[in-house]
């Protein structure tokens, strides 16, 4: 009997540990919602969503989230233009072309790209890539969306490539062999057989990449400047949702003031954007597992 009780206690405590992860999500939602509620008591939803200026720290503050959202979308788009094609190419190359030994070496090295601290990438974007780009693009300002966007893109290559490659590897060999038997080359097989068959996995990989890029903070905080700018010009400085939160946190903003609450309003906007992508990504990955 005592054995049974002991087993029960152990199972319950393990269950509580697993459940604690749900508690984290609930606390995130509650904290963000509670503090933003205070924000939206002062600032109307309409102003938040339609005002084109974001100047909460000014004497006459304006609370329009749009400049931060466009800043986020701009840097994210630049990152994706770099990361999606490269990541997909790397995945096809590693899963269809590269010899086994080479893959074993390249994969962990590529993973290192995601392991480098983002503050180091920020340093690199600001003090190496921007000056290099300026020699081609004289109009590029010292802080801009382009350089951190490119660096972020390279940073998320491993996220895109590893999930894509896994799903390409999961395509059963006999399907590929069928294609080879018809005389198709590796490229034709990859484009017409493997990629369509692994489509949901690749889509999931893309979505993980998008979600990463939206939430990336330090690279843009260091190299994109801190200017809320309602523009889609990649040569100008911009501010993202994440960089704004960093900017305010660096100063000494007293607890409970409207400035303090703005970072939660920016945070909940960010959380919503990534939540949508994460859920789509989860659903897509679940689908791959069920197909074969």
């Amino acid at each position: 009997m005592s054995k049974k009780i002991k087993e029960g206690i152990i199972e319950t405590s393990l269950f509580l540990c697993a459940l604690s992860s749900v508690l984290i999500t609930i606390s995130i939602v509650i904290v963000l919602a509670y503090e933003s509620y205070g924000f939206f008591k002062v600032v109307s939803f309409k102003e938040f969503l339609t005002e084109k200026e974001w100047t909460p720290l000014f004497f006459e503050p304006k609370f329009g989230i749009l400049p931060l959202v466009t800043g986020t979308l701009l840097t994210t788009s630049i990152a994706l233009i770099v990361a999606l094609p490269l990541g997909l190419m790397v995945a096809v190359y590693l899963s269809e072309y590269a010899p086994h030994r080479m893959r074993e070496i390249i994969k962990p090295v590529l993973e290192l790209l995601a392991a480098v601290p983002t503050v180091v990438y920020g340093y690199f974007a600001l003090l190496f890539l921007t000056p290099v780009l300026q020699s081609f693009l004289p109009d590029l300002s010292g802080f801009n969306a382009l350089s951190p966007g490119i660096i972020m893109g390279i940073m998320i290559i491993p996220y895109v490539s590893s999930v894509s490659e896994d799903s390409m590897k999961a395509v059963p060999m006999h399907i590929k062999e069928g294609s080879y038997a018809m005389g198709a080359t590796k490229l034709q097989t990859a484009l017409k057989v493997v990629i369509p068959a692994a489509f949901s996995g690749i889509a999931a990989a893309f979505i993980i990449g998008i979600s990463r890029a939206i939430g990336e903070t330090m690279v843009v905080a260091i190299a994109a400047g801190m200017m809320p700018n309602f523009s889609f010009n990649p040569l100008e400085p911009v501010q993202t949702l994440t960089a704004y939160i960093v900017q305010v946190s660096l100063g000494d903003v007293p607890h409970g003031t409207i400035e303090y609450k703005t970072i939660f309003a920016a945070g909940i906007t960010l959380f919503m954007m990534t939540l949508v992508f994460n859920l789509i990504g989860f659903w897509l990955r679940k689908r791959i597992r069920e197909v074969y």
Partner: protein, 302 residues
């Protein structure tokens, strides 16, 4: 006939072209990593000296060092490891070995997948509202450590689950056949056999925590700290003190961020030097993780 030959030739041609493009795409990331390391090294290496590791930050760039930063990073990481490892491993074991297929399990799984994708700065906001103001931990090492623990928790859980999933069912059945209970099976078979994978996941998680900047800024790490936290070891009984948990702190990435954002070139060189140390730590931890994975994979054959 000629027509078909022509088409095969074209196909082969494109296949060859793609082989090269694919190879070059793979190189892009690797080359960038190399350039980054060379750039960092060229700028920062001259600043690396014994004094750099043993000095506090200073207004004078050539006297500034990273003493308070690396001590802070180390202590924060202790708290993170202490909180994330037991919680994450226990959750992973539950989900793989105990969980029944029902809606509660489904919710936990969706939730963990979502948590893994939540931007790190959102964890910082959670910690600011929860740890700093609601639980009144203040802007301390404890707060920062717990924040990073929440951040790497999904990674530890997923690594644990993957490691456990690789153990064949026959091992469990053999254990049950000898009359072992579920916990005895987990304790004496599942945990030891999955140790390699779990350790790998933990180290990679911690290496990510050491480089995280954004959530630590949000919970209010100071950028200029010219003193050390209280010592964890004391000369009087009971010889161990936990006062350091409640001390203000700074960490490596924040020190680096602070130096990068200054306009003076000399401080940026300090940033590069701090970057080398930071990169060194993360690469070392990743290297150890890869080595452990390799070693355990070799040792265990089902």
């Amino acid at each position: 006939m000629e027509d078909i030959k022509q088409r095969i030739k074209i196909s082969k041609y494109w296949n060859g072209i793609f082989w090269i493009i694919g190879f070059l795409s793979t190189l892009v990331g690797l080359v960038l990593l190399l350039v980054l390391m060379i750039d960092l090294f060229m700028d920062g290496a001259p600043r690396l000296s014994y004094k750099f590791f043993t000095s506090f930050p200073s207004r004078f760039p050539e006297e500034a060092g990273i003493l308070s930063a690396w001590v802070g990073s180390f202590l924060v990481l202790l708290v993170t490891a202490g909180a994330a490892i037991p919680l994450g491993v226990a959750a992973g074991i539950y989900l793989e070995e105990y969980a029944r297929k029902n809606w509660v399990t489904d919710i936990i799984e969706i939730n963990i997948a979502n948590l893994a994708g939540v931007p790190s700065i959102v964890y910082g906001l959670l910690a600011l509202g929860l740890f700093v103001y609601l639980l009144k931990f203040g802007e301390t090492i404890l707060t920062a450590g717990l924040t990073l623990a929440l951040l790497i928790l999904p990674m530890v859980i997923m690594a644990t689950r993957e490691a456990i999933r690789a153990i064949p069912g026959s091992i469990r059945e053999a254990s049950y056949a000898l009359g072992a209970t579920k916990w005895q099976t987990v304790r004496w078979h599942i945990i030891p056999y999955s140790m390699g994978g779990i350790l790998t996941g933990i180290i990679i998680g911690l290496s990510r925590a050491i480089g995280e900047t954004a959530p630590i800024i949000t919970v209010g790490a100071l950028t200029f700290i010219a003193f050390l936290p209280a010592s964890p070891v004391t000369s009087e009984f009971p010889f161990i003190s936990f006062k350091w948990l409640m001390d203000p702190f700074t960490v490596m990435p924040i020190q680096m961020f602070n130096w990068v954002s200054r306009p003076q070139k000399a401080f940026q060189l300090n940033a590069a030097a701090a970057g080398i140390v930071l990169m060194g730590m993360t690469l070392l931890m990743n290297g150890v993780a890869i080595y452990i994975r390799y070693k355990f994979r070799k040792k265990i054959r089902w």
